[in-house]
């Protein structure tokens, strides 16, 4: 079973959950295709995978039209975690991106609101660590 939106084919992982893995450069294209399907951005969940040297970003959309969660997975490198921001395509993404930046240290290029201390206490910010990374030591 799969769900095709434009050029992108989402595969079904469980009932009402569809997922696709894309690269950083494809992200904005997928986001545009998903938004056309009456979807809102539910969450950006970042998972730290130090063994692979990656951080996996899960953009979880809920499509009101398809009644399904559309998960866009974007693996980024841990050393240089940069992805383009989708906050201009989905305005609801702005604060989620800020949260991920604060907790995981992923930089969203084009989001002007990024700042530390959105959630994290100042003493942790001063140490320069991102608390949800596995090696942060907090």
């Amino acid at each position: 079973m799969s769900l095709v939106l434009g050029d992108f084919s989402f595969s079904e992982v469980s009932p009402r959950r569809y997922a696709i893995t894309v690269t950083q450069s494809e992200l904005r294209g997928v986001a545009e295709a998903v938004v056309r399907e009456e979807s809102y951005l539910s969450s950006i969940s970042a998972v730290d995978l130090p063994k692979d040297g990656k951080i996996e970003l899960n953009y979880i959309f809920w499509s009101i039209k398809h009644r399904a969660a559309l998960v866009v997975r974007v693996p980024v490198s841990r050393e240089n975690p940069v992805v383009p921001s989708i906050s201009d395509i989905v305005p609801g993404a702005t604060k989620s991106e800020v949260e991920v930046y604060d907790l995981m240290g992923v930089i969203f290029e084009g989001n002007s609101n990024l700042r530390r201390g959105f959630l994290v206490p100042e003493d942790v910010v001063a140490k320069g660590v991102y608390p949800l990374r596995k090696d942060s030591g907090v």
Binding site: Y40, S43, I60, W62, I64, A69, K95, L103
Partner: protein, 384 residues
């Protein structure tokens, strides 16, 4: 043009929502609002990684005290999926009942607070009095007025006996009668209607664009409810309507909540009447999960609650991402205050049913510094 920056909050005499709205005004008109939250992080996502699946159930419930059963439900149903266990039908019915009781008391609370914010203290006191009935029912079913903690992996912690079941049905009649009365008050009262309607309007397309959820989304005419779109617990068996309104203003949001609370009464009644026979309390305590990941969604009183749980096997979760409804509803609605008068800001803010402990999972700090003149929401709404 002189733009004045007014920080609002966080010392509210009733609700104590520690959030700050930095409002820039030109005269009476609001030209910019920045929601400043997240003074500090309670670190729950990290804490869950450090604790076992079983301890996690209780920590998840303590993300938010008002909607704790739904938090536990979201966590537990995700973990159950990872462990490959299925709760019994009776357990599912009891879970549903607890979650719906919670929805009633949460909606009553915000209706009371909204009444207080617009200066209608009598209504506040009356609603709070009748809310005690719901709290009592919740205590009767779960054993605690606030933190239900009734979920365990594979079922519920305590069964519902016949005496309690009859008691619930009795009390529901009274609660329903009071709810209908308060709905009538919100519908017809001159002050409330004048204060709430045409304030903070969000159009259908904006609601989706801003990623709003729950009653806020449904008040803008979108029929989206996790309970019917993505059924969990016993919702696939329970008949209920999705309440929605087309106006999209603060008044519509409150009406959606009151309608929903009435619908919840029906759901609780249905679950109590049609409670399936069989066991509800599991005999074993599962401790290890298989590797995998799961996206668990639940309709909390404030909207869609989402947990993304990643497991690599073993006794602890690898990563738990919590996205609470208030996170989206509060932080993404900064633009909806623009063009309104300053006194409308607290009304709009309260109409999103803000729950700060949910939003930030933080240790919230009172930002009331001596240098600036901070105004309470209540004073402001009264033109103070």
């Amino acid at each position: 043009m002189v733009v004045v920056e007014i920080p609002i909050g966080p010392q509210h005499p009733a609700l104590h929502e520690p959030i700050m709205l930095k409002v820039k005004t030109d005269g009476e008109e609001v030209v910019e609002v920045a929601v400043t939250t997240g003074y500090n992080h309670r670190g729950i996502e990290k804490l869950l990684e450090k604790n076992s699946w079983i301890r996690g159930m209780y920590i998840a419930g303590r993300v938010c005290g008002i909607c704790n059963a739904v938090h536990t439900q979201t966590y537990v149903q995700g973990v159950e999926k990872l462990m490959g266990i299925e709760p019994t039908p009776r357990a599912n019915y009891i879970r549903t009942m607890v979650m719906e009781l919670e929805r009633i008391h949460s909606h009553l609370l915000i209706c009371a607070v909204m009444a207080e914010i617009v200066g209608f203290d009598t209504l506040f006191m009356l609603i709070m009095r009748d809310r005690e009935r719901v709290m009592h029912l919740k205590e009767l079913v779960t054993g605690n007025r606030v933190h239900a903690d009734i979920h365990v992996l594979g079922g519920v912690k305590r069964d519902l006996d016949e005496v309690r079941r009859t008691r619930i049905l009795d009390e529901l009649r009274k609660i329903e009668e009071r709810l209908k009365y308060y709905k009538k008050v919100y519908e017809t009262d001159y002050t409330l209607v004048r204060r709430l309607s045409e304030v903070g309007r969000i159009s259908k397309s904006d609601a989706i664009r801003l990623s709003l959820v729950g009653p806020t989304l449904r008040a803008s005419g979108i029929k989206s409810d996790v309970r019917s779109d993505d059924p969990y617990a016993a919702y696939s068996e329970v008949p209920f309507n999705i309440e929605y309104r087309d106006e999209g203003d603060s008044w519509a949001r409150m009406m959606v909540r009151l309608d929903e609370a009435l619908e919840s009464v029906n759901i609780v009644r249905y679950t109590a009447e049609k409670l399936p026979q069989g066991p509800a309390v599991p005999k074993t305590v599962p401790r290890a999960a298989k590797p995998g990941e799961v996206i668990s969604r639940v309709e909390a009183p404030r909207g869609e609650l989402l947990y993304h749980i990643v497991s690599t096997g073993g006794s602890n979760p690898y990563r738990v991402k919590i996205r609470t409804p208030s996170f989206l509803n509060i932080l993404n609605t900064e633009s909806t205050y623009l063009g309104h008068r300053l006194a409308d800001v607290p009304v709009i803010f309260a109409s999103y049913d803000p729950c700060i402990s949910c939003t930030e999972r933080v240790i919230v700090v009172d930002e009331k510094s001596g240098k600036k003149a901070y105004v309470s929401l209540k004073e402001l709404a009264r033109g103070g």
